[in-house]
Every structure is written in structure tokens, then in C-alpha cells.
């Protein structure tokens, strides 16, 4: 009788441990799938950007002087951004929705393109495209390239704000704002936002 009870308990334990492993594997697969989809979307955005650059080269004109048909539809590449010191090199897509941020840093709709007069906002996930942004420092150089041309920026302000703070202000002069979640290494939805401001060099 005791042996049968023990066997039943062991069977139950075995089933429970199997269930826990299966659930864990499913969560891991879901996470990996999301990352993989992001990688595919990122590659697609880079390929599209390369096409745009090729079109521009064929047209033999500057980015801003026509030849290339730029689109402002969501998810299409609108700029390329590099931070040489951090080794960050990303193609920026239009919009900051889930799909766009999966593909790359997103240009916030309603803000100007980098190089125009006003505030240009570019946001990305801290665990993907802007992971290196945790190491940004005052005076770092940021380079953007868009239909408005190539602009070299200098980081002029770094701040951390609460997620619900109204921290993005419109400026009359060209200003680049890079935002991501803060802390960079944080499990779960991060409570704060890192905002890096840069002005043209």
C-alpha cells in the first residue's frame, strides 16, 4: 500500500517536472521567436536602406536633391544612425510601434527628420538596438544620414526621467533626442527612460 502511494507520488512529481520543463521551453521559444523576427525585420530594413542608397548613387545626386523616392510610411527606413565610439550602427525606421521597434530604432512620428530645424526623436529597445546606449558619454559623436543629408551631432545632455514624465520638448533649433528604457540591465518593463540629447557639431 505504502509502495503504491510512493509510486503515485513519484509519478505525479514526474508529470509536474515535465510540465514545468515544457512550459519553460515554450516561454523560451516565444522569446527566441520574437528575437528572430526582430533580426529578420532588421535585415529587411538594412536591405531596403542599401537599395535606397544604391538608387541615390545611380541618380548621382545627394540624398536631398531627388532621384530617390523616399517614403514616410511606417516601417520604412528613413535614416541611418551611427555612434562610432560605441560601435552602434543602425538603420532607423519610421514609427515607434512594436513592429517598427522590432526592426530597428524608430523615428517618432511628428518629430522632424534629423537635420531639420526642430526636435528629432529616435527610440529603440534597450535590450536590442540601443543596448550600447548605456555607455554613452557627454561629447560623444553621433552621425545621422537621412533625406536631409548627413549631420554630425555632439551629445550635449544625458538625463534619466520617469516613464510618465513629459520629457520630450520641441526645440526651434535642430536637436536629436535618443530615448530608450532605463536601467539598461533590468528584468521586466523598465520604469525609467534614458534621454540623450545632441546638437549639430
Amino acid at each position: 500500500m505504502i509502495g503504491r502511494l510512493t509510486r503515485q507520488r513519484l509519478e505525479a512529481r514526474s508529470a509536474a517536472s515535465t510540465a514545468v520543463i515544457v512550459c519553460g521551453a515554450l516561454l523560451l521559444i516565444a522569446s527566441a521567436t520574437s528575437v528572430a523576427r526582430g533580426a529578420i525585420a532588421r535585415d529587411a530594413a538594412r536591405a531596403r536602406w542599401a537599395e535606397l542608397e544604391a538608387e541615390r548613387a545611380v541618380a548621382g545626386a545627394k540624398l536631398s536633391t531627388g532621384g530617390t523616392r523616399w517614403s514616410d510610411a511606417r516601417g520604412t527606413p528613413v535614416a541611418r544612425m551611427t555612434i562610432p565610439r560605441l560601435g552602434l550602427d543602425e538603420v532607423v525606421v519610421e514609427g515607434v510601434g512594436d513592429d517598427e521597434l522590432r526592426a530597428g530604432p524608430g523615428h517618432m512620428i511628428g518629430s522632424v527628420l534629423p537635420g531639420d530645424s526642430g526636435t528629432s526623436v529616435i527610440s529603440a529597445h534597450r535590450d536590442r538596438h540601443f543596448h550600447a546606449l548605456g555607455g554613452i558619454a557627454m561629447g560623444d559623436t553621433v552621425v545621422t544620414e537621412s533625406m536631409r543629408g548627413r549631420v554630425v551631432w555632439t551629445v550635449s545632455r544625458i538625463r534619466v526621467v520617469r516613464a510618465e514624465d513629459s520629457a520630450l520638448n520641441a526645440r526651434p533649433t535642430p536637436t536629436l533626442m535618443l530615448t530608450t528604457c532605463w536601467p539598461i540591465r533590468y528584468v521586466g518593463p523598465a520604469p525609467d527612460r534614458l534621454i540623450v540629447e545632441a546638437v549639430p557639431k
Binding site: 513519484l10 512529481r13 514526474s14 509536474a16 517536472s17 514545468v20 520543463i21 515544457v22 512550459c23 519553460g24 521551453a25 515554450l26 516561454l27 523560451l28 521559444i29 516565444a30 522569446s31 527566441a32 528575437v35 545627394k62 536631398s64 536633391t65 523616392r69 523616399w70 514616410d72 515607434v96 510601434g97 521597434l101 524608430g106 517618432m108 511628428g110 522632424v112 527628420l113 537635420g115 531639420d116 530645424s117 526642430g118 526623436v121 527610440s123 529603440a124 535590450d127 540601443f130 533625406m147 536631409r148 543629408g149 516613464a163 510618465e164 514624465d165 513629459s166 520629457a167 520630450l168 520638448n169 520641441a170 530615448t179 528604457c181 528584468v187 521586466g188 518593463p189 527612460r193 534621454i195
Partner: protein
């Protein structure tokens, strides 16, 4: 006496005529005539047409409102760059938005909460993916540990 009777009769006639007149004016309404099926169908059709035109007017108004709102924002980049742009770009002005044939795009734009405005919040870049991945790894580790304990217990039972 006879005169009195005549006078009373005359008074009754006058009063009675007044009452009768009042009854005639108040009891007027004849029963409503029933419409023929064809007439009813025509009336329904007229009503539907009126409703349709009302709805069309409302939708047109909404479209104009959305278009004017998107034009007032004037923050989207031109889809086709002009030759007047310089290398660093001409500032996009509020008076010259790119004409958009796709009105659904502007409507969609106005719906989105994550548009830039003066004093807006930073976009929500928080993602649960790392937490989900970590939870998955922890659950797998926990399951493996449970399996090991179970094996040890089985071995003890056999002995």
C-alpha cells in the same frame, strides 16, 4: 308665461347652437387612412435616402476635419524631396505639408498615441521579452532539478 317659455326656448337654441358648434370643431379627426403597401415602400425608401445623405454629409465632414488636422500639424516629411532642399535640409514649415492622396494614412497617424508633441512622453520602449526568456530558462532549470530529485527518490524506493 307664454312669453317666458318662448324666451327660454330661444335661449336654449342659442346655447345649444354654441355647444353644437364647439362639438363640431373639436371632434374633427377622421380615422387615419391606411397606406397602400406601395405607398409604404415608397415612404421607407424616401426615409432611407434621407438617412443615407445625412450619413454621407457627416463622413465628408470627418474626412475634411482629419485632413485639416493633419495639415495643421505639418510635421511629416515630404515624400518627394524638392530640389530646393540643401544638404542639411530646409526646415519643414507648417504651411507646406506634402499633399497626401492616402487619407487613411493621416487618419491612422492621428489615432496613434506615440506621436511627438511638445511635452510628450518618451515612447514606450519597454519590452517583456527578456523577462519571458529568463522565466523560461528558470522554469527549465526548475524542471530539471525536479526530475533529478524524482530520480533520486526512485532509486531510494528501489533500494
Amino acid at each position: 308665461m307664454h312669453n317666458l317659455g318662448r324666451a327660454a326656448l330661444a335661449a336654449m337654441m342659442i346655447v345649444g347652437a354654441g355647444t353644437a358648434s364647439a362639438q363640431i370643431t373639436t371632434v374633427v379627426a377622421p380615422p387615419p387612412r391606411k397606406n397602400e403597401p406601395a405607398q409604404q415602400a415608397a415612404a421607407q425608401q424616401r426615409e432611407r435616402v434621407v438617412q443615407d445623405s445625412v450619413a454621407r454629409v457627416t463622413m465628408t465632414g470627418m474626412k475634411e476635419w482629419v485632413d485639416s488636422a493633419s495639415a495643421a500639424l505639418a510635421v511629416r516629411p515630404d515624400t518627394v524631396p524638392t530640389t530646393a532642399d540643401t544638404a542639411l535640409g530646409t526646415p519643414r514649415t507648417a504651411t507646406a505639408p506634402a499633399p497626401k492622396s492616402d487619407s487613411s494614412a493621416s487618419a491612422r497617424t492621428s489615432e496613434r498615441p506615440s506621436e511627438f508633441r511638445d511635452g510628450s512622453r518618451a515612447p514606450n520602449t519597454a519590452t517583456p521579452i527578456p523577462a519571458i526568456g529568463l522565466a523560461g530558462v528558470l522554469m527549465i532549470l526548475m524542471g530539471v532539478a525536479m526530475k533529478r530529485r524524482e530520480r533520486t527518490a526512485r532509486a531510494r524506493v528501489r533500494r
